[in-house]
Symmetry: C2
Subunit: 336 residues, 2 copies
């Protein structure tokens, strides 16, 4: 289907007209979908409207502050909107009842597959929270410290704390405004980017022990098994940083993290340098995401999947090498 | 001695009046002192003035882009200024000839010990580069991509890529302006914050193998020996990220990194949480720095020094516990 594209201003007007709103977040929720969802929920409630956030999976322990103090309202919903959801396939089982019922989607994924009546999409935005920030400004909602903390969370987590290539001047200006509005960026940064448990440190070490390098070190693959997680008493929510690990290794253009979720069910995170489109590659395996960070799933033996993924990565690296020979063969991340 | 405090505007006027300028950077130079120095040097040269950067130690390999394309000018200096130098003790032996001769110091260290005739100090600024950015604006210097890359480097490196508690709205606004001016933030971030060699990964692992925890895990100490560095073929410039490692461990309030420089010569990096003033503690051992990141040196057996440091840290933690019992005993970095 096609969605009608609407602007920030139009989105603000739509929202100001709504009451009894359910805000959908994607499954395996992260800081951006929940930050956007709870910011919008708090904003609507501050205007006296009934609103609630709905997600197939529970809020990860690290992110529970996003929902702190938000009354869990039960009401017959009149409006269904979604935030940071690129595809109905990412609803998860808990949101099945809402399929085909979303009237407004707010998103920043370039590969968004339309499922809502109206769509406010800015694929140049590093996070959905940056878009929600503009919408709340247009709605005239007072920016409380709590709303600012929700929006800062997605702004920071979707950019690796302003480190990734998706950052724009707008990202930094939004962060400046959110800090001025009193967001607790010091604690958020400490928790999200600067704290590791000894268990996670141990798991990273175990994952690096099993590191495999391919194509002269341009492709790095690590695997996290359920056994490794059980040894450290860890759950999937504890592992959000690990996907960034293999791409950090000098010379790596494609970093692959394979996580075992259950028997023969695996989740893959792909992080790439400027030369490869991670979203394109994951789309071949039924997944998606962003240009530098995407994911997919598989349910066959890992070696079988890895063969196919390596073939796809090699092909993509061959094309990149043909187009940018100097980049791949000579540039070792020196700043020009 | 006392320095005369002057404003950004006055500093700009002073600089516009100067020619044949030597710009001093502190020893063991980092992204902020060199970013400030080369930004200012490029700016003065763009105005047709003779200028050069002087530092006791060579520019680390990772930072050579700061100086790329800057002509090394030899001239009899008429003016000596310093950037990001908190104390003449940080000149290093190569800058001995300039002692007592600095007419203008530009700095952001709260513990600045005056040594220059005039001082442009903003201790609320996360980096010296943020101050130099304002000075260049006031001078009316066109912000080239090269100058912007110099200034972005210090802005990012002194804040752990906008992660540390010294970040202000101004920090983010300066970053936004520098990205708009064409700084190569994507490569800079990749090199500074998102790339590790296998040798550094191995050294971090070895350092963590020797991790010692004290006071119920509130103090973490790691040691990097010359042998560990030699094994990986690493030099001190490769290790700028390692000092952040021990404080990252959950529950740690004070992270200590001891680096062996030569026989019986050690450098200490102290990183603290909000509860402890790292600069105060390092000052007791003849060092200094910032509230959350400071350093000092010692030349006795490490166990002897560590005893004294642990005593100082325990004392500081006792005071913090008395003042903020809820922080130290109950708050496990949950976001309020």
């Amino acid at each position: 289907m096609e969605s009608e594209r609407i602007t920030i201003q139009q989105t603000a007007l739509r929202l100001l007209d709504m009451n009894r709103v359910v805000i959908l977040c994607h499954r395996s929720p992260d800081g951006d979908t929940l930050g956007s969802g709870y910011a919008l929920c708090r904003a609507l409630q501050s205007l006296g409207r009934q609103a609630r956030v709905a997600c197939s999976d529970p809020v990860p322990a690290k992110l529970t502050y996003l929902a702190a103090g938000v009354p869990e309202e039960d009401f017959p919903e009149e409006h269904v909107i979604s935030v940071d959801i690129a595809d109905e396939a990412l609803f998860g089982s808990g949101l099945e009842p809402f399929r085909g019922r979303v009237e407004l989607a707010i998103d920043h994924h370039a590969g968004h597959r339309c499922f809502a009546g109206e769509l406010c999409l800015d694929s140049g935005s590093a996070s959905a929270c940056e878009i929600v920030y503009e919408i709340l400004l247009a709605m005239g909602v007072p920016m409380t410290p709590e709303i600012a903390s929700c929006l800062y969370t997605g702004t920071a987590t979707d950019t690796g704390c302003f480190k990734y290539t998706n950052v724009t001047p707008h990202t930094h200006r939004v962060a400046a405004a959110l800090i001025e509005a009193g967001c607790d960026f010091k604690t958020i940064n400490k928790v999200m980017f600067d704290t590791k448990s000894m268990a996670v440190i141990g798991l990273e070490r175990a994952a690096l022990n099993g590191l495999s390098l391919y194509r002269n070190g341009a492709i790095a693959v690590i695997t996290v098994t359920r056994e490794m997680m059980a040894q450290g008493g860890l759950c999937e929510g504890d592992l959000d940083g690990i996907a960034a690990l293999p791409r950090k290794i000098e010379g790596v253009e494609a970093g692959v993290t394979i996580k075992e979720r259950s028997e023969n069910e695996y989740k893959v995170s792909l992080r790439t340098s400027e030369l490869l489109d991670a979203s394109d590659i994951c789309a071949r395996f039924g997944g998606g995401g962003h240009a530098r960070a995407a994911g997919c799933s598989f349910d066959c033996p890992p070696a079988l999947f890895l063969d196919k993924l390596l073939a796809a990565l090699n092909e993509a690296l061959d094309s990149a090498a043909a187009e940018h020979p100097e980049e791949l063969h000579m540039k070792k991340w020196s700043v020009s």
